[in-house]
Assembly symmetry: C2
Homo-oligomer: 335 residues x 2
């Protein structure tokens, strides 16, 4: 899917910043694509953009209203519908990462049809994919993988893209989840495709390219997560990465939403190389992205130094210290 | 999905036996559930049942017309529609493993609605699943895995179920593909569920059970197949098998529909144990099911003997020699 830019970010009546984290992610990485935010009475979130209504956003050039907020259950509340219909009638497309589909709300479906606008339901893959073939393609690919879900794989990929571009490399972030798709303006939520086509969707997302081009692919789940490892493996096989970065949150005690302990970074490196070899025999780990937000400065530094010493790989926290050491290693490994 | 029995098997105008292999599989394993076969002019297939039309089948007690034939592209041909509508009007449900949905043919959808009958599109999961949790459940499970797709995983599971039942064990085949679902009368095509829910669907299919009960789970794909390994891994994690049997076709040179070489049996054992440990630390291999159809008798025996010697596991061809040695090992391992 390809989402028309720029965006008007809809925050609804998000009670707090966490509920609007999709919108915040878009602002963090693609502020230039956002003309403003629109909020309903009672909204407790603010992503730092100018408040404006739909007509003002259209006048400022907006092309898509982005539902940048999640609510309990992922269902679209009735009291959001008026604003969404008004946006469609004013000529905007609408994009949503909610579990429920925009087009399943009859007033929204009718307005989109009547106004000739596009509804993007980011959690529901609209594309048809072929099954993956596993054939080696030209172009380079880097994948972020994790010891768990929600350990910063998207953030690490975006930070790597930014650092690589700053050094003049031809690098492009490839989105595999709904927030990532909004940030990239295109992509596919791989966890929402039919199981038979996971690796095929990843191949579609990261096609053959120039030998010097890098796709920086957003990882999903973890090979060690009992809910989602199938998605992780299909993405790994389809993306056939030359390089990968392991993302980790050192203070977590069990994997997200299940009772399993986290694997070690070493286990993730070993399992990723073992499985990834199937479609890229040269796959190798080029760095560790460690979320140290919960640690004081000295402890954060000590954690990174210990990881580097243990694995012989650059370790950094992308938010706190940037990803320059990881890109240094990448360039050394792939001159 | 739960399919009403007994069945009338629809062979359409299948040009040959291969095109009707779904029907043949049902007859092989559940002949008691089949009242007859119905064929269109020009049909070149015969699964050995009495030919009868819909009224005769209804009189004989049939409850479901089963589309037991595939055609090029998996699309339902127009000239099958009359017979399917006639079946619905006579009070039968209809089940199909074609890629195209029965309900996407307006005359069929209308007739089903009007007659209050159920359409089973076996390749399209109708159930909603939760994400997998990976929590250990009581009851025993055996999973068939493969060095490739189409190496006899379903056949091996059915042969194991039959042998285990013949010895008085409480064993139940659990179907994960469309032909398997027809043979079991229920199940889920795991390659057709949304990627996020592969392991959750497998958990749903093989729920907590009596400590002495065995689910014998039909495997899918291969951990080494670049198109489908994600499905295979999610099924492995969700089924959390205590025991697995590796299925292999020794004369195949590349994996099905791709250019990759086959893994060795040893690689499959190692990868299955490494990945399966996540949800069942006690997972172990109890046998090898080797399809020797392409080999003369002496060479078949030599192949099985060599596999046993190399891996220290019973090896058999379920069709040629039965699975008794594998069940012997299973019972020795799980007294």
């Amino acid at each position: 899917m390809e989402i028309a830019k720029p965006y008007l970010l809809f925050l609804g009546d998000a009670p707090d910043a966490l509920a609007a984290k999709t919108a915040a992610g878009v602002v963090d990485w693609r502020r230039d694509w956002c003309v403003g935010q629109t909020r309903l009475p009672g909204c407790g979130s603010d992503v730092g953009l100018a408040d404006m209504d739909v007509p003002a956003a259209v006048a400022a050039g907006a092309k898509t209203l982005v539902i940048g907020v999640v609510n309990a259950g992922g269902v679209l509340p009735d009291h959001w519908v008026d604003e969404i219909v008004a946006a469609l009638e004013a000529g905007l497309d609408v994009a949503s990462g909610l579990h429920g589909r925009l087009k399943d709300t009859p007033r929204i479906a009718e307005a989109a049809e009547r106004c000739g606008r596009t509804l993007h339901d980011l959690r529901h893959a609209a594309e048809r994919f072929a099954t993956g073939k596993g054939t080696k393609r030209p172009g380079r690919r880097l994948l972020t993988v994790g010891t768990d879900c929600s350990v910063g794989k998207k953030y690490a990929a975006l930070a790597l893209e930014a650092e690589m571009r700053a050094r003049g490399l031809d690098a492009e972030f490839r989105a595999t989840g709904q927030t990532g798709v909004l940030i990239a303006g295109r992509g596919v939520a791989v966890d929402a495709v039919i199981a038979d086509f996971i690796s095929g969707a990843a191949e579609w997302l990261t096609p053959a390219n120039d030998p010097g081009h890098w796709d920086v692919v957003e990882g999903q789940g973890s090979l060690f997560h009992p809910s989602f490892a199938g998605v992780t493996l299909g993405l790994l096989h389809g993306a056939q990465p030359d390089a990968f970065v392991v993302c980790h949150e050192p203070t977590r005690t069990t994997m997200r939403n299940v009772a399993h302990p986290l694997p070690t970074i070493g286990q993730v490196i070993e399992a990723t190389v073992a499985a990834g070899r199937l479609t890229n025999p040269e796959i190798r780990c080029v760095g560790l992205s460690i979320n140290t937000a919960a640690l004081p400065d000295a402890e954060a530094r000590a954690t990174l130094d210990a990881a580097t010493a243990e694995h012989g790989l650059p370790a950094s926290d992308p938010i706190r210290f940037g990803v320059a050491p990881i890109v240094d290693r990448l360039l050394a490994a792939f001159p």
